[in-house]
């Protein structure tokens, strides 16, 4: 079942669209689920489908199409490292290596304590700051060096 908070947010979102086109709110609805639970389980997709009057498979198509939806638990903090060309030229390989050293996990994995998850990301549109990573798709960190990564992790550890 979708929580009260989620349905309230979806209802607010639905006001942006014509009443007979509830499915327009599907991407936002999936985002709200992920914000609350950290990932989107098939049951949540079915709930979103029921709430918006959509076919379950149609929700699944959207959820699997967009990279930023987590289809499995990705830890409390999902670190998404851009591996596209600009970041790669500026050393995203080193970023990943350092994160691997610090967290002991590779791409698509979660630390044993469930705190950190590591994902590969697509271009974040801020190549001037390459290499880049995002925390939970919300906070963007650029011009990464080993020291800066340690600093980001230290801040997250404190939370």
């Amino acid at each position: 079942m979708l929580s009260q908070q989620i349905t309230t947010l979806i209802d607010k979102e639905l006001k942006k669209y014509p009443a007979d086109q509830r499915q327009s709110a599907v991407m936002a609805a999936l985002r709200f689920v992920q914000d609350e639970k950290g990932w989107i389980a098939p049951e949540d997709m079915a709930d979103v489908a029921a709430y918006l009057g959509m076919q379950q498979m149609a929700v699944y198509e959207v959820a699997t199409f967009y990279h930023m939806y987590n289809l499995k638990p990705m830890g409390k903090y999902t670190l998404t490292v851009c591996t596209n060309l600009s970041c790669q030229l500026c050393g995203s390989g080193d970023t990943l290596a350092h994160l691997h050293k610090r967290l002991g996990i590779g791409l698509g994995e979660v630390t044993a304590d469930g705190k950190y998850g590591l994902r590969e990301g697509e271009c974040m549109g801020a190549c001037i700051d390459a290499p880049l990573l995002t925390v939970n798709n919300k906070q963007m960190c650029g011009r990464l060096t080993d020291e800066k990564i340690d600093q980001i992790l230290a801040e997250l550890d404190k939370k």
Binding site: P42, Q56, Y60, E61, T64
Partner: protein, 768 residues
Amino acid sequence: MINIEIDGKQIQTENGATIIEAAHQAGITIPHFCYHKKLSIAANCRMCLVQVEKAPKPLPACATPVAEGMKVFTHSEQAVTAQKGVMEFLLVNHPLDCPICDQGGECMLQDLSVGYGGGHSRYHEEKRTVLGKDLGPLVAAEEMSRCINCTRCVRFAQEIAGQMELGQAFRGEHAEIMSFVSGTVNSELSGNMIDLCPVGALTSKPFRYKARSWELSRRRSVSAHDSLGSGLAVQTKNNRVLRVLPIENEDINECWLSDKDRFAYEGLNTSERLTSPMIKKDGTWQEVEWQAALEFAANGLRHIANGAGAEQIGALATANSTLEELYLLQKLMRGIGSQNVDFRLRQSDFSADTKQQGAPWLGMSIADIGKADRFLIVGSFLRKDHPLLAARIRKAVKKGAQANIVHSVDDDLLMKVAGKAIVAPDALVETLMQISKALTAEKQGQSASGEAAAIAKSLASGKSVAVLLGNFAQQHPQAAQLQALVQQIAALSNGKFGFLGEAANSVGGYLAQATPGAKGLNASAMLSSPRKAYVLLNVEAELDCANPQQAMAALQAADLVIAMSAYKHHATEYADVLLPIAPFTETSGTFVSSEGRVQSFKGAVKPLGEARPAWKVLRVLGNLLKVEGFDQDTSEAVRDEALKGVDVTARLNNAIGGVEAKAVAATKGLQRVSDVPIYATDAVVRRSAPLQATTDAAIPQAWLHSDELKKLGVQAGAAVKVSQGQGSVRLFAAADDKLPGGVVRVAAGHAATAALGAMFGTITVERA
């Protein structure tokens, strides 16, 4: 109309058409995969790229509308280069397994790669692999690497079947066709995805690795499993039916086929087939020669006719027997002096027989149904009883038509329903009376509120109204009243009304005169006042009759039961002689569809073992009993005799007079609502293993509203004892909150419920 030019050919086409449609009209082929005339445009395969004058780059013909003066080149250098480029990309990841692929020989990709593919591949990297999926017992999706992601299957499920059971998940190179959380595809139309798949990704599971397409002979036939009269291409090899495909007819089945029609053939050659005549001697069954069996049957009938009297003989046939069989059966009965013959085994109200002006039929053509803009569907398990008609109505509803439902269950029709009244069976008459009253009021400008008024309002606003009575309404104990009321409603809304026929020959039976004469007994009376002898044609009494308890009691008490059947079944308990007859694929015959279309077909294969076409068996019985007029040489001669002087269109008439509709007092206790599950309708379907493995063929449950369950103190999922008359069965209780109160839904036509009584009436449910 606008003028365009394709490959130098001047073409006039409708404004709004696409280039590919215009080209097909003019007989010009444009290669394509994802385009299908019945589905929405996806334009994702890019195979149909063509050159258009003044366009800077090739355009997809399937998604480009024509414009006045447009010049299109489908085979210019630019077009062919583009098409070859697309083909090269499609083949990059396509496996080279054509030699073992079921689609080989009838594959669009294979065919088009001959024209547009290269002789060798420039791609030497690893091909992408996509894991196979389990989509259930009918559609095989084992080799999804073959998929070219045209999304025809997805669009079919969404647009025609009404339920998006497949989708394209993930993106780009990772895109794959799959179901939600590994679910199976449960649509009753799922087999059409196999036809639509342009490659070998979705293939037929029952047909898998049985034969190569070029080894099969193709025979034209007509569906025996519902009343639509779908055209079948029965494909055979070594005298066995190996596959059934649709024959396209825009006015009947379009290019579709229901799974029931497509996969029923798997029930043709089971070990349960009766392959030689048998006589019960001293309590044991013995195989005998035809001559002995026929003489036994003839002597038995003669003995009863001479002794107890011919009126002590009754003949029952199912409505999926051919016109010829039904005609000869009634001719035989009338020849020996009995008027007791009937084919309407699940009907319980026969009072319309004397009040009805003609043979009940659809009341309109099937094509007309697609054109109606308001529907009132009374007492029909529409999706399961008439899958393709449901699809046609679904299409009409998508275009703006309104569907209204009056029924005792509220199954999801996968379409928008404008108004509905879901009431217990004993309130159906009253509901229709209310609608009729509301319609009269609506005409006088008064509007009321409530379910009935909403339906009346919807009907009154229509230009072309179709009122349809389903199987449930025809089997209802007040069927004649329902018919009269529907006639009234149709008249008030200037519409047409008709019957969604139950079986292949529900209309044909009337034309064959397989109904009792004035002095004869109908199907129900023949069993309620038992006869001494019965002749059964295709009948499985405990599954095909309105009241199995009564039917079995009558047959068990009879002195003589002659069972003509394609299968060994429970008849061994009550019959005295079993005559093996041929199912529809093994005999020539005729079905008259619910719209009155008379369609004859030939046998696709020879009868199995000693089985013989039933019309021949009846002819010999007629000869042995020395009845005149049994010297036909062919089934065509029988058909011509049966329809001689019969103006079919004039015979079809739903008008009924002299019936007064009267609401009945509410029944005390629970009422039974019974459907005949989609894969329990006739003997062949019941034995088709793949159909029986689908979710639609699950063992029936006792469905109740959760309030009723609470009253009974039963949890959903718990076992309950369901009793009716002298019999009871153990079923699992299930909750369906869309059911009205006071009813329990228990399917008929299934072995699990065959010990129960009538399909309508009171029934008790208690904790087991």
